[in-house]
């Protein structure tokens, strides 16, 4: 009898040991790396860093420095920036611009010229960031539209030259490019993983815990300020959103947004109010979201396919649809 009792206790002790082991394994599986967070403003938008396993804790601040340094190089409003000098003098020596322009040229071509980085003068004419923005006179639109032409850009080594009256505007690619550069810095600094947001562009990389759980990124609702459109889950990658809610004004009951079709000189009229593109490059995700917004849903699909990119489209009627390999969940709350 005594032997049986000892055996029963042993069995119970084994059960407890197994439970302890399972508990330890569970905790280890979900062990979350130390978190560092930072929020700030750069590139005229909200910049957020959520970094896991940052070796010193100073990486978020340094990453913000990467964004502001890029802003000081590509903003057309920052005196002395490469783009500012190019627009003022027609010529600039730049280590960065030739690569950006070369990568975007195929998209300018695929869009049939609707997407054009020399759209600067047209953006200035529309003045979306000004308090009293209004639809410009047709004669002004026609005059300025003629200066928009990416094929007039000349690149030779590090030298970039722009045509007469042309203005380069990298607003449609800058935030995505910032994500690329920040990711490069953070991974080289030994950060285990994180999510970086620069306005509508997001980079998700690495892991937040040993299990390598996917990242969840919320997309702002294009019409309801306090709501999300939905959530995209991804292990790694870049996403960018372009929408008619970012910068716009209304005149005679019509909404005019900052995403300009360079072929008409007017804001895009594709029937979309928001496009989110997911791909493996930040700058391309940013450029693609603008291109898709201009092209409309159906015409975007071949372009997205050629870049192995996926997208979420929202029409002005509120219809939501997805294209490509994407883990998207609509917000039901």
């Amino acid at each position: 009898m005594k032997r049986k009792r000892v055996l029963a206790f042993c069995a119970a002790a084994l059960l407890l040991a197994a439970a302890v082991a399972a508990g330890v394994l569970w905790q280890k599986r979900t062990r979350v790396y130390p978190l560092t967070e930072k929020t700030s403003i750069a590139m005229d938008t909200i910049v957020g860093f959520k970094l896991y396993g940052a070796p010193t804790g100073a990486e978020a601040e340094a990453a913000l420095g990467v964004v502001t340094s890029l802003e000081n190089t590509i903003s057309r409003y920052k005196e002395g920036s490469d783009v500012f000098v190019l627009n003022e003098t027609g010529r600039v020596e730049s280590a960065l611009l030739p690569s950006i322009l070369a990568q975007c040229e195929p998209l300018e071509e695929q869009s049939g010229g609707m997407f054009d980085l020399t759209v600067g003068a047209l953006s200035t004419l529309w003045g979306f960031s000004e308090e009293n923005a209004a639809v410009p006179a047709q004669s002004d639109i026609d005059r300025v539209k003629d200066s928009v032409d990416y094929t007039a850009l000349q690149i030779s080594g590090n030298t970039v030259m722009i045509g007469k009256n042309q203005q380069l505007d990298l607003g449609s690619v800058g935030k995505g490019l910032a994500c690329d550069m920040v990711k490069q810095y953070l991974t080289s600094a030994g950060v285990k993983g994180g999510v970086v947001s620069v306005g509508g562009s997001i980079c998700a990389f690495g892991k937040k815990n040993d299990a390598g759980d996917a990242w969840t990124v919320a997309i702002k609702h294009p019409r309801e300020e306090n709501h999300f459109l939905g959530y995209i889950r991804l292990k790694e990658g870049f996403l960018s959103t372009s929408g008619d809610y970012e910068q716009y004004f209304e005149q005679n009951g019509e909404r005019y947004c900052h995403l300009l079709d360079a072929t008409t000189g007017y804001p895009a009229a594709s029937g979309l109010c928001s496009v989110t593109v997911v791909c493996d490059n930040g700058m391309l995700s940013d450029a693609l979201s603008t291109v898709c917004f201009l092209l409309g849903e159906e015409n975007s699909k071949p372009v997205l396919e050629s870049y192995s990119a996926a997208a979420v489209f929202v029409t002005t009627d509120g219809e939501i649809s997805t294209f490509g390999d994407l883990d998207f969940t609509k917000d039901e709350s």
Binding site: M1, K2, R3, K4, R5, L7, A8, A12, A13, L15, L16, A19, V20, A22, G23, W26, Q27, T30, K38, T39, S40, I41, D44, T45, I46, G48, K50, L64, S129, E131, V195, V196, S197, G199, G200, S201, I202, A204, K208, W215, T216, V217, A218, I219, K220, E225, N226, H227, F228, Y231, L239, S240, T241, T276
Partner: protein, 127 residues
């Protein structure tokens, strides 16, 4: 009869019950850690967090003025009611009340973000 076959005595059941409870606790503890601690508003100015306010602890409204932005906090959300910036987009944003949403005043370099410290499911927001 069964207890007798195993050689168990009165009181052994209590020991086994404790063991079973210990096992259950080991599995349940990680789940219990993910409670909902309510919304907090993080106010950032010039890249530095100036204040974090637990909204659930508020009775009525509280007002902060940061870099020219008048921020009104209440248990059901946050809004910027006035600002000396030229575009006043921060005022036009209206009230926010969901974790992850934010109000930004770019000219005054102020960001107010709503957070849910525990059980936060969103890693980033594409604004």
């Amino acid at each position: 009869m069964k207890a007798e076959r195993l050689g168990l005595r009165a009181g052994d059941g209590a020991i086994y019950a404790v063991l079973v409870l210990l096992c259950a606790a080991l599995f349940l503890l990680p789940l219990l850690k993910s409670g909902n601690d309510g919304l907090t508003a993080q106010i950032v100015a010039d890249g530095k967090t100036v204040e974090t306010v637990a909204l659930s602890s508020l009775e009525g409204t509280e007002t902060r003025t940061v870099n020219g932005c008048v921020i009104v906090l209440s248990s059901d959300g946050v809004r910027v009611t006035d600002a000396d910036c030229p575009d006043r987009l921060c005022v036009k944003t209206g009230k926010i009340s969901r974790a992850g949403t934010a109000i930004a005043c770019v000219p005054n370099r102020v960001v107010v973000t709503l957070r849910q410290e525990k059980n936060e499911t969103i890693d980033g927001v594409a604004y």
